[in-house]
């Protein structure tokens, strides 16, 4: 038995020396043959049996192992001539350039050499060392003339990828052969190689040029047997055959004295083959192809990319003891159960070690054997031999022989905790622990309420199940991963598991005031509850006993629950506008002491993923814990569905019927819209059209027409909604937010509305029209995609076509969005995965660097909060308010403050302040206050994050998962004179990628005291800011290309109005055009002195775009009114200049260009800007991500003092672990460099440990359990 597991501690890469290659080889490979005519492998050929075993029954010739035991052995090929190892080609070039060809030392003077030597010896940090070495190299290469050590003249060395080197001697360029290169590298002294970054204890530079090529063992490149019977060799084998063949050819030619140029050609060919064997994707070199024209897979190709070794076989693997089928719903299952088909339960096993405590059960199971369920599949004796129970005839007898220490593999049974998952696994909730319930039939079954976290529906979805094999993992699953322990989302602090669809419709109808249940009906409902406290007294006694649905619902609630919220169906009655009006409509939910007093239960109360506000479910889950919430949900789902099934709920086509008056109204609205459009078109055609500021006439027409039509649709939607009555099934579903929304009703019953492509009305397809059914240039509603019909009435052919176009656009958008958001998620995960919470609430990375000093600024775990708030202040206020009248002598506000500050002194300031605010509003005595403060303190302490929580992963997932919902393209601004700003996913990507300039840079300029109250003054400043280019002040340009003459006719009025200094303009032009500028009446005559016509053209094109007035970069300004002052919003950004301008408020003016903020205001300001930008993207799309995640992300991007992007040139690229970097993006180059430097990866972070099979240092892997004996 294994008591101690040994784990890999570190992985070190280095170069392989020719000596080592020869030593480790089992044989020398000389024949370019694989198998001979009898089908046996050729000795000293590429498939020599000394290199390993391929057939199951054979034994290895070298080590005697069977196919399971023998790992395969290397061989080697003695190359006739040295060959450059392509993977190091660039590095070789750098070294050649940095060393002197005579003395072979690094070309830096002695003092610097000493300095660097010392520096390198003392610096341990790999990143810093890399910087130092880079400096050394650049200094060495720049000294081109003479070697500072020996004085010899230096020649320039050119590197021609992928593997050629050319030295430019005074006599002319000569090609350096691989041998030449190797010789030079050999001469470099150790110390110099060290200065150039070599791990000199283990590596020598000349090893980068191969003299002997290791031949990989057979299992690395196995052959396959095709159906037709023939054998197909692996790509690598083919390549090796080529190499051996050419190598032999080369050797013969050298020996037999063939002319040099033929030898050179053969040598080149050998180099080519060895190069493509390593990497077939080289630029400048045709990739070697299989006979079928398919490029062969070189070694590099096996490692890199999504399907390569790292991403597909190491960081992720296919596993045993897993299962996958279609899922189907089962409302009678517990929330945390999963229905497992018998066939699956009889295939997956759990290993159980037999001990005196379970030996009887074990014997029973073995006796039942593999044919029964429950049963067992195998028995493993103490010596390790496995017995397959299918082949035991007398199971009972065999069972008797079982003794402690044996292991049995028993079938999956009811109650076993397994991992259940649905891909894509975007957040940790996509994998949860479920208890097995073995059931007949072939699908996995789950309770409907648990669909939202998995994002599962039953239209054919499949899900995966993992049977956990070790006790450790089963305990972790049961303690941490069960569904009930993960009800609250780490993303926004609300319930993920909850009521959906029919649950909501059911409980709404159940808890409506008009739902009365007879004794019989009550009985039926109670029977679905199984256990409840006691039957309540009927609410109505005469003439018959009746209970209300609310009473039934109250049976589910905890007895001390007090809660109040507005139901989804709540519509403020603006007519009455008085307090108390809500009660009339029964739309405010009030729960007192576990009784539902008023209100209907719908999405707002028990829905899953309700981002808009606190739900009843949130409170139950957080306040009473997962177990209680599980009970509640189980009962809730059963009761509500039973009620709905009994009552019946359906949707008929007649429910979309509109009363004739409404139909008339709809028609009228549309006709009115058409009439307005006619009017506009008339104006337009007559030429009396007034365009909007900043837009052309056509654009304005489009905007206005579009506006009219979307207005129509809105009005129609409203009319239709008003006309349907409360019991209409569609209204029930939409008002309770179970499914559907106002737009669906409008489209089904009223009118589908305007279809759009890329934010505009449909206009393309044919010349100046969308379809040939319309006239060219026709701009009216119907010809540009307005669908007048409702879904119920049906669409006309052209309407159908337009609708299909719009539908297609949205599908394409979704498809691209998944890929892009998936990549973002991957980048975020790779950048953040090592971050964990330490014991003191700090967030640190795998190297111990501090990212945040207190997670989320308060150390709170979103999972333990009420939508982000650790303390339920509403409830607090309610409790105080209720007991207020009982208070005889209340405390003074001053004493209240003292007590609050004393009791809550260790809590965050904001919580203290909130509590104080509430407490000072009401009368309260000291006893109650102390009790309350204690509750507050406990709530807060209870909500703190656990140490070692992998919040890097949680943050990455919390940002990545909702990014799937962000729109990819954003065309909302069909409005009047709105700015154009990138929103949604593209903007989020820009911020996280730390893009140098946003695609739509924009500033918000606040004005100082003097200017902010007057629109005119604001306008004046805006005018000064808006920049004009030379093009803008020129009426006409005439160019005479031959004589290089330009005549620029100026816009005099504009120039005078703006007060543009022509002198400056002239001098700027003369500088740029290298000539003279003369002013003549209202033009400038330029005589350029540039010779080359091309350069002349370039120069004047650039000239026209030069800013001559205003702030460079700012193209448009807009005056807006915000909170009582005038503010300038711009297109284009130049913070540096604007902050210095007169009239500008230097302290509030901001921009969305984060780099500018970094340069002008510092790293902390940049951090704040990042947070603001991300927040605004999310808010604009209505997506809620708790701010703690954004804070952590911003911290991670700024903790180095400058701005780092999420990605291989940023956070991820700076990781010390080469395994982490190699498995992320640039695989082979990373490994090659790591080998040269002799990097040692001590597996600090998550992904490298997964690759090495070592428990990760985050979460449960960070702690070890010790047992006391």
């Amino acid at each position: 038995m294994i008591l101690h597991k040994r784990h890999i501690k570190s992985l070190k890469l280095s170069l392989l020396s020719p000596t080592d290659i020869r030593k480790m080889a089992a044989t020398k490979i000389v024949l370019p043959k694989t198998y001979d005519t009898d089908g046996l492998p050729v000795e000293s050929g590429v498939m020599d049996p000394r290199l390993g075993v391929l057939e199951p029954r054979y034994l290895c010739r070298t080590c005697g192992g069977s196919i399971e035991k023998c790992p395969g052995h290397f061989g080697y090929i003695e190359l006739a001539k040295p060959v450059i190892n392509v993977l190091f080609a660039r590095e070789i070039a750098n070294i050649l350039k940095a060393t002197c060809k005579e003395c072979h030392k690094v070309k830096i003077p002695k003092e610097e050499r000493e300095k660097y030597l010392k520096l390198l010896q003392t610096t341990k940090n790999q990143n810093k060392r890399d910087e130092i070495i880079k400096e050394i190299k650049s200094k060495a290469v720049s000294k081109t003339q003479k070697c500072p050590n020996c004085g010899a003249k230096q020649n320039k060395i050119k590197f021609i990828p992928p593997y050629h080197y050319r030295e430019i001697t005074p006599q002319g360029p000569i090609n350096l052969t691989a041998s030449d290169v190797r010789e030079r590298l050999e001469e470099i002294p150790d110390e110099d190689a060290y200065l150039l970054g070599f791990d000199i204890e283990n590596n020598r530079p000349e090893w980068m040029v191969l003299t002997d090529l290791p031949v990989p063992p057979l299992p690395v490149r196995p052959s396959i047997v095709l159906e037709k019977g023939g054998r197909a060799e692996d790509d690598l084998t083919h390549k090796l055959v080529d190499i051996v063949r050419v190598n032999n050819n080369l050797r013969e030619s050298i020996d037999s004295g063939t002319p040099q140029h033929i030898i050179d050609d053969l040598w080149n060919l050998l180099q080519y083959h060895v190069a493509t064997y390593f990497d077939n994707n080289l630029s400048g070199v045709p990739s070697a192809k299989h006979r079928t024209k398919r490029p062969i897979k070189g070694i590099a190709q096996r490692l890199e990319g999504k399907e390569g070794r790292f991403r597909s076989n190491l960081a992720a693997k296919r596993v045993d003891f897993s299962a996958r089928t279609v899922i189907s719903p089962d409302p009678l299952l517990d929330i945390n159960e999963v229905g497992v088909p018998f066939e699956i339960a009889k295939t997956l096993t759990i290993p159980v070690t037999v001990s005196e405590l379970n030996i009887e059960e074990a014997k029973t199971l073995v006796a039942l054997g593999p044919k029964n369920h429950p049963g067992a599949k195998y028995v493993e004796r103490t010596d390790g031999t496995k017995v397959d129970l299918r082949f035991i005839s007398d199971l009972a007898a065999f069972a008797e022989n079982i003794s402690p220490g044996y292991k049995i593999g028993r079938y999956l049974m009811d109650g076993d905790v397994v991992l259940f998952n649905r891909q894509p696994s975007l957040h940790r909730i996509s994998m949860m622990g479920h208890r097995v319930k073995v059931l007949p039939y072939k699908t996995f079954r789950l309770n409907l309420a648990v669909c939202p976290p998995y994002n599962a529906d039953f239209d054919g979805d499949e899900m995966n199940l993992h049977a956990l094999q070790t006790l450790d993992s089963r305990v972790e699953a049961e303690e941490l991963m069960l569904v009930e322990k993960n009800i609250i989302s780490p993303r926004f602090g609300g319930a993920l598991v909850g009521g959906i669809l029919d649950h909501i419709t059911g409980s709404y109808l159940l808890t409506r005031r008009d739902t009365l249940l007879s004794k019989k009906e009550l009985g039926l409902l109670l029977s679905s509850l199984v256990d409840y406290d006691e039957i309540p007294e009927p609410a109505i006694l005469e003439p018959k006993e009746y209970w209300t649905g609310k009473q039934v619902f109250s049976l589910l609630l905890p007895k001390d629950l007090n809660f109040k919220l507005k139901a989804s169906v709540y519509i403020p009655k603006t007519e009455t506008g008085k307090e108390g009006e809500e009660f009339i409509e029964d739309t405010v939910v009030i729960v007192k002491n576990g009784e539902l007093l008023t209100g209907v239960i719908d999405t707002a109360a028990i829905g899953a993923i309700v981002e808009s506000g606190l739900t009843l479910l949130d409170v139950i889950a957080n306040k009473y814990g997962g177990e209680r919430a599980r009970e509640f949900l189980n009962k809730y789902t059963k009761v509500t569905l039973r009620f709905l099934s009994g009552r019946g709920f359906t949707l008929g086509l007649d429910e979309e019927d509109l009363p004739p008056e409404i139909k008339e109204k709809v028609k009228e609205i549309i006709l009115e819209g058409y009439r307005e459009i006619e009017k506009l078109l008339e104006l337009f055609n007559k030429g009396e059209f007034q365009p909007l500021p900043g837009r052309t006439k056509e654009e304005t027409l489009e905007i206005k027409v579009g506006g009219i039509l979307s207005n129509c649709r809105e009005k129609i939607g409203k009319e239709v909604s008003k006309s349907l009555d409360v019991d209409n099934s569609i209204v029930v579903m939409t008002s309770t937010k179970a499914k559907g929304s106002a737009i669906n009703i409008g489209q089904m019953a009223g009118s589908v509305g305007q279809q759009s492509l890329r934010g505009r009305r449909i206009s393309e397809g044919y010349i100046r029209r969308a379809l040939p059914h319309f006239k060219k240039g026709e701009k009216r509603a119907k010809s540009r995609g307005f669908v007048e019909s409702s879904y119920k009435r049906g669409l006309t052919p052209t309407e159908l076509y337009f609708h299909a176009m719009a539908g297609r656009e949205s599908l394409v958008d979704k498809a691209i969005r998944t890929a892009d958001s998936g990549y973002l998620q991957r980048r975020l995960m790779n950048a953040f995965q090592d971050l964990r919470i330490e014991n003191d609430g700090t967030v640190r990375d795998s190297e111990g660097k501090i990212i945040s000093f207190l997670y989320g600024d308060d150390g709170v775990d979103v999972t333990k909060t009420y939508h982000g708030e650790p303390v339920l202040f509403n409830e607090l206020e309610e409790t105080i308010a209720n007991d207020e009248n009982k208070v005889k002598k209340g405390m003074s506000n001053k004493n209240k403050q003292k007590l609050v500050e004393k009791e809550l002194k260790d809590l965050p300031e904001r919580i203290r302040n909130e509590t104080l605010k509430i407490v000072t509003k009401h009368k309260i005595n000291k006893e109650t206050l102390t009790k309350i403060l204690k509750t507050v303190k406990n709530s807060y302490l209870h909500a703190l994050v656990d140490p070692f929580e992998p919040i890097g992963v949680v943050t990455a997932q919390s940002i990545g998962e909702p990014s799937t919902q962000l729109t990819l393209r954003t065309f909302h601004f069909a409005g009047v004179a709105e700015k154009n700003i990138t929103l949604g996913f593209p903007r989020l990507k820009e911020v996280l990628d730390m893009r140098k300039k946003p695609s739509t840079p924009s500033m918000t300029i606040y004005l100082d005291e003097e200017h902010r109250k007057s629109r005119d003054k604001a306008l004046k400043i805006a005018e000064k800011i808006r920049s004009l280019t030379l093009k803008d002040i020129i009426e006409k340009i005439e160019i005479e290309p031959l004589s290089r003459e330009m005549v620029l006719t100026l816009k005099e009025e504009l120039i005078n109005q703006k007060g543009i200094d022509l002198k400056k303009v002239k001098s700027m032009i003369s500088k740029k055009m290298k000539g003279e500028v003369k002013e003549e009446r209202n033009s400038l005559i330029v005589q350029s002195g540039i010779d080359s016509y091309r350069k002349f053209k370039e120069a004047y094109t650039k000239l026209l775009d030069t800013t001559v007035y205003g702030v460079k970069g700012i193209t448009k300004t807009l005056i807006k009114e915000k909170a009582g002052e005038y503010v300038i919003e711009t297109e284009g950004s130049n913070l540096k200049v604007v902050l210095k301008m007169e009239g500008v408020d230097r302290n509030r003016t901001t921009t969305n260009d984060i780099l500018e903020i970094y340069n002008e205001l510092g790293i902390e300001a940049a951090r704040a800007a990042i947070i603001n930008e991300i927040k605004s993207v999310l808010e604009n799309q209505g997506i809620k991500i708790n701010i703690r995640h954004i804070l952590l992300a911003a911290d991670t991007l700024t903790f180095t003092g400058d701005l780092k992007q999420v990605g291989r040139y940023g956070v991820t690229g700076e990781k010390g672990s080469f395994l982490a970097r190699a498995s992320y993006e640039i695989t082979v180059k990373t490994l090659a460099e790591a080998a040269i430097k002799g990097e040692e990866d001590e597996l600090p972070g998550v992904v490298e440990r997964v690759i090495a099979g070592v428990p990760i240092q985050v979460g449960t892997g960070a702690v070890e359990l010790y047992a006391a004996f």
Partner: protein, 81 residues
């Protein structure tokens, strides 16, 4: 002239309070978080927020931000070149 510049920067809404810690205060912070200077978040010596302040490489800056979560949040950065 210099004074005016630094006050421009430090009063901007996006820029939190930056203060240089004394030797002793710095040592306390390092002790409290069980760490060394290299492991702290960094800030460049030419960072605009530090203008007008007498800082050199190795100093520790205490940053007091306003936090939507907790009211006040404190962070530290070590000055690098």
């Amino acid at each position: 002239m210099k004074k005016k510049e630094s006050s421009i920067i430090s009063k901007h809404v996006l820029v939190p309070l930056h203060e240089v810690l004394t030797e002793r205060e710095a040592k306390e912070v390092l002790k409290r978080f069980h760490t060394d200077k290299e492991k702290l978040p960094k800030i460049r010596v030419d960072d605009p927020a530090l203008r007008g302040m007498n800082v050199k490489k190795g100093d520790i800056i205490k940053i007091t931000r306003r936090s939507p979560v907790s009211g006040k949040a404190i962070s530290y950065r070590v000055v690098i070149e």
